[in-house]
C-alpha cells in the first residue's frame, strides 16, 4: 500500500468571500516553498468568481496578516480576510 503523501492546508473563509464560495473552509494542496501569493493565485484559479466579483482580501497566517511573499508551512492556520468593517 502506498501512503498518501499529499499535504493539505486548511483555509478559513469569512464574510463576503465565504458567501461567494458558499463554504467556510477549503483545503489547499501544500507544496514546498509555497507562499501566501501562491495561495492567492490557486484560490483565484479555482474560483474564478473571485475575480469576476473583484474580491479583495488579505491572507493571514497563524492569525497575523501577511504579504504575498510569506512562506507557508503545512501546519499553519490560514485565513482569507475580505475588507473589514467592525465597530
Amino acid at each position: 500500500m502506498v501512503a498518501d503523501t499529499r499535504s493539505i492546508v486548511d483555509l478559513r473563509l469569512y464574510a463576503s468571500v465565504k458567501d461567494l464560495l458558499g463554504k467556510d473552509r477549503i483545503d489547499v494542496d501544500w507544496t514546498d516553498n509555497m507562499t501566501a501569493g501562491d495561495v492567492r493565485k490557486k484560490l483565484c484559479e479555482s474560483f474564478p468568481i473571485l475575480s469576476v466579483a473583484n474580491a479583495q482580501f488579505t491572507i493571514s497566517v497563524n492569525r497575523r496578516a501577511v504579504g504575498d511573499r510569506e512562506l507557508i508551512q503545512k501546519t499553519d492556520e490560514l485565513a482569507i480576510l475580505p475588507p473589514i468593517s467592525g465597530g
Binding site: 478559513r12 469569512y14 464574510a15 463576503s16 458567501d19 479583495q56 482580501f57 488579505t58 493571514s60 492569525r63 497575523r64 496578516a65 501577511v66 504579504g67 510569506e70 485565513a79 480576510l81 475580505p82 475588507p83 473589514i84 468593517s85 467592525g86 465597530g87
Partner: protein, 130 residues
C-alpha cells in the same frame, strides 16, 4: 463596571459606545446589522492594540467589548472603556483603540435592509511585521 473604585490612581475614565444606526451608507433604512468575526485572531489583535496603547500612554485600564451576531437598530455593537490618571491620555487612548479596531480587527458587518443583504466594504487589513 465603568469605574474601578479600588484603583485610586484613576482620575478619568472615557467610554466610547458604538450603536447601530438606522440608515445605511446609501440611505436605505436598516433593519438589522449582522456581525461576523474571526474570533481567535480578533482577540489577539485586541490584545496587541491594548499593549501598544499602554506603551504610548500611562493607562490604568482598557476594556474592549465587541458584539457579534445579529443586532437591531439602536443596539450597542462596541464598547471601549479607558481609564487613566488624567483625562487627556484617556481620550487620546480611547480614540486610538477604536480607530485601530476599525482598521485591524477581523470583524465584518452585513447590512440587512428592505433592499436585501450586503456585506459592507471596509478596510483591507495591511500585513503586519513579525
Amino acid at each position: 463596571m465603568l469605574v474601578d473604585r479600588q484603583n485610586t490612581s484613576v482620575g478619568g475614565t472615557v467610554v466610547f459606545i458604538g450603536t447601530v444606526r438606522e440608515y445605511d451608507s446609501e440611505n436605505f433604512k436598516l433593519l438589522q446589522l449582522s456581525y461576523e468575526a474571526y474570533e481567535t485572531m480578533a482577540e489577539e489583535i485586541f490584545s496587541d492594540i491594548e499593549s501598544e496603547a499602554k506603551q504610548k500612554w500611562e493607562i490604568e485600564g482598557i476594556t474592549v467589548l465587541h458584539r457579534i451576531g445579529t443586532l437591531n437598530v439602536g443596539e450597542v455593537s462596541v464598547v471601549i472603556i479607558v481609564s487613566s490618571k488624567h483625562r487627556k491620555e484617556a481620550f487620546d487612548c480611547c480614540r486610538y483603540v477604536i480607530d485601530n479596531v476599525k482598521t485591524r480587527v477581523p470583524i465584518w458587518k452585513m447590512e440587512i435592509t428592505n433592499g436585501g443583504k450586503k456585506w459592507l466594504g471596509g478596510t483591507l487589513i495591511l500585513p503586519t511585521k513579525k
